[in-house]
Symmetry: C2
Subunit: 409 residues, 2 copies
């Protein structure tokens, strides 16, 4: 019988969100007619804006006629999208990223999960705790860890504990690691790394010759002036950082599917003999061998985000979600909860009341208030006793959820 990849068997239970889905489905089946309010999965609920929809239709229409038909596109993405992203997301903020350093994909979850393939299996990875599970699970599956202990921590991974005292910012590793996942604005804690934090990370990475994997999926929710939206706003970052961007949260593309990552040509790794190897080249080989380009009409739709009208419309949607975040934050504070995030990020990170465990609070919230959130423990051992609420919801949902929570707690 064919031998399976036993690293998969190390994974603790299901991926977090399917597990939440199972519990909610079971509750709904047992309580038909009850209206469940979802502030759990970070999934957008507002329609794509008109400018994006128009471009999306135009892209589809191009496929309707032989003269304008598009078959396989460049695996790396169409130039019209890569160039628009390079200009608006980087040049406009004083950061240098060339269009051909941008690799368009069908989603940031794929990019985050796949990037580890270009590193050696014995590379040591550091992650924040709590952490977006994909960073960890993809490395477990690849065999870069040992088994998990009781708290869910995998042997061989370095966990950077993010505490309330440090504002949930990960500390620099106290010994050498080869690559580090950073996420700012942070999922799940809603915290943000400021310029000085990022400077410290870039300086550390340069000294340690480590690679930073910088997930900026939520950068469009930064509201504070002076907070970098890209790691490349920090001098020297081009030699140490890969950045991940997504249109999912920026522009409501969770169902449309489009994202990109940036690997500067200045970024090098090495082989066993110490010879320099371009990570850009390795990723290009990976991307062109194992991926066939993102959907053409979807790329057309994504490019429309960079038009003046598109930017305006997309910003209005992000503002709407950030108003939700303010309401949730204020509403919970008024009810005596300890809360973080929600000012530069669409997530609110709250301390569970009465010393409840994260999953206990999840079940209580579901059973007593019919509100779905995300247990902090699902993001790692350090998330125990914490809970994530998402502001990706309609306003009426947010208001009713706050009322119900107020009644119960």
């Amino acid at each position: 019988m064919a031998r399976v990849n036993e690293n998969f068997l190390k994974l603790k239970s299901g991926y977090l969100f399917p597990e939440i889905g199972r519990r909610v489905t079971a509750y709904a089946a047992a309580h038909p007619g009850e209206r469940i309010l979802r502030l759990g999965i970070g999934d957008v609920v507002r329609a794509l804006p008109p400018t994006v929809i128009r471009a999306f239709h135009e892209g589809v229409e191009d496929l309707a006629r032989d003269e304008s038909f598009k078959g396989y596109g460049p695996e790396q993405g169409y130039a019209f999208l890569r160039e628009a992203a390079a200009r608006a997301d980087f040049a406009a903020r004083g950061a240098r990223v060339e269009a051909d350093e941008i690799f368009v994909s069908d989603g940031s979850k794929c990019d985050c999960a796949n990037i580890q393939e270009i590193f050696s299996l014995d590379s040591v990875l550091a992650v924040s705790d709590p952490v977006y599970p994909v960073y960890v699970d993809s490395n477990v599956m690849a065999g870069r860890t040992g088994p998990a202990d009781e708290s869910g921590r995998y042997a061989g991974l370095v966990y950077l504990r993010c505490t309330e005292a440090s504002g949930f910012r990960p500390p620099l590793p106290d010994h050498h690691v080869d690559f580090v996942w950073l996420c700012s604005p942070n999922n799940p804690t809603g915290s943000v790394l400021r310029r000085a934090d990022l400077e410290a990370w870039v300086s550390w990475a340069r000294r340690e010759k480590a690679v930073l994997l910088f997930d900026a999926a939520y950068e469009s929710y930064i509201r504070e002036e002076g907070v970098p939206h890209s790691i490349y706003e920090i001098p020297g970052a081009r030699e140490v950082a890969i950045e991940f961007r997504s249109y999912s949260k920026t522009a409501g593309f969770t169902g449309a599917r489009c994202a990109y990552l940036v690997i500067p040509k200045d970024l090098k790794g090495c082989d066993a003999a110490g010879k320099e190897v371009s990570l850009h080249s390795l990723w290009n080989r990976r991307h062109s061998t194992k991926f066939n380009g993102a959907s053409y009409p979807v790329q057309k739709a994504a490019a429309a985000i960079y038009t003046p009208e598109g930017r305006h419309e997309v910003r209005a949607i992000a503002d709407f979600y950030m108003e939700n975040a303010s309401l949730i934050r204020a509403g919970l504070q008024k009810r005596g909860f300890t809360v973080y995030g929600g000012d530069n990020a669409p997530y609110i990170w709250l301390k569970t009341p009465k010393g409840l465990g994260s999953w206990e609070f999840f079940d209580e919230l579901l059973n007593r208030a019919q509100v779905v959130g995300t247990p902090g423990a699902g993001f790692g051992a350090a998330g125990e006793g914490w809970f994530r609420l998402s502001s990706f919801a309609q306003r009426t949902t947010v208001i009713e959820a706050l009322e119900r929570i107020g009644r119960v707690f």
Copy 2:
């Protein structure tokens, strides 16, 4: 400095099609104004049919209103598409595949490259020679091979040599292997495995407890009655086979991006202790951790292929390409070429004239006739001296290419 995955460094030159692209670009730059005819990459050129376009637009329109907006869909694909595929692609042909055994993705290249992740790194893989490079390269990257020899064959891979004498059908391995890639109708040779061939493979796999990876991307080009379109038409295949399907060639989705694979729940692997493990469960974990579902409007468009009008329109496009295939086949035969394929597959596999090497013939065809094809050697050592022409072209291109080839050879 971070250590890279050195398996990438074993890969021979670029992936085949980018290499062709480079040579064509260089030729075009040196000869502006010359019209190059492309019968190289297997990329469709005909527009998506009206029924598919209409559904695609409707899918986009659903994203334009909050009430019908779709965010993250099921990672495995929407039920409307999985159920339609289970009915039309399998039940209608007497094969049993349940909807929840179907995993929808953004493309078959990704599926083919990713499936190897669920097998242990020391599993032994057999591939045909010649072979679609993705089957091989993805395993090289994962570390399942040693370095390549001068002919491009990687140590540790088992190559099943497909010869003219055997009609380019791969022989059964003469010793145990753990998994095997089969592709029928075949890319690149255009050959097809008939019922007796597939029965022999299924019987072999059951005896050896091996897994068959059956790539049926070109099944819609089968014109001969009685040739199976799915491996699951063979009794016993559910315990030994994974099947790969693509809408790229079936319905012109190379730019739209949609495909699926099937893993029956009856298919098991084992861990080191010999304990059975469900491959369906492993893939489900992989798919839900590293992928976030295919684009919703694209899935809507794909589902429209299964409507009566959609089927009719899509069939007409496939027929058009198969008429091209007949023209190429007959035209080359008339000019004295030895040709195979083109009857149940959109590819024509021809013996290079005058004993030319595959790349020599490529360059000669490009330089003297301005026709682009694909060198057989690019598909493996056994492809040397052979050449692939694709029938995915407009009729005028096919006719002119044949005239030019006739003038030169």
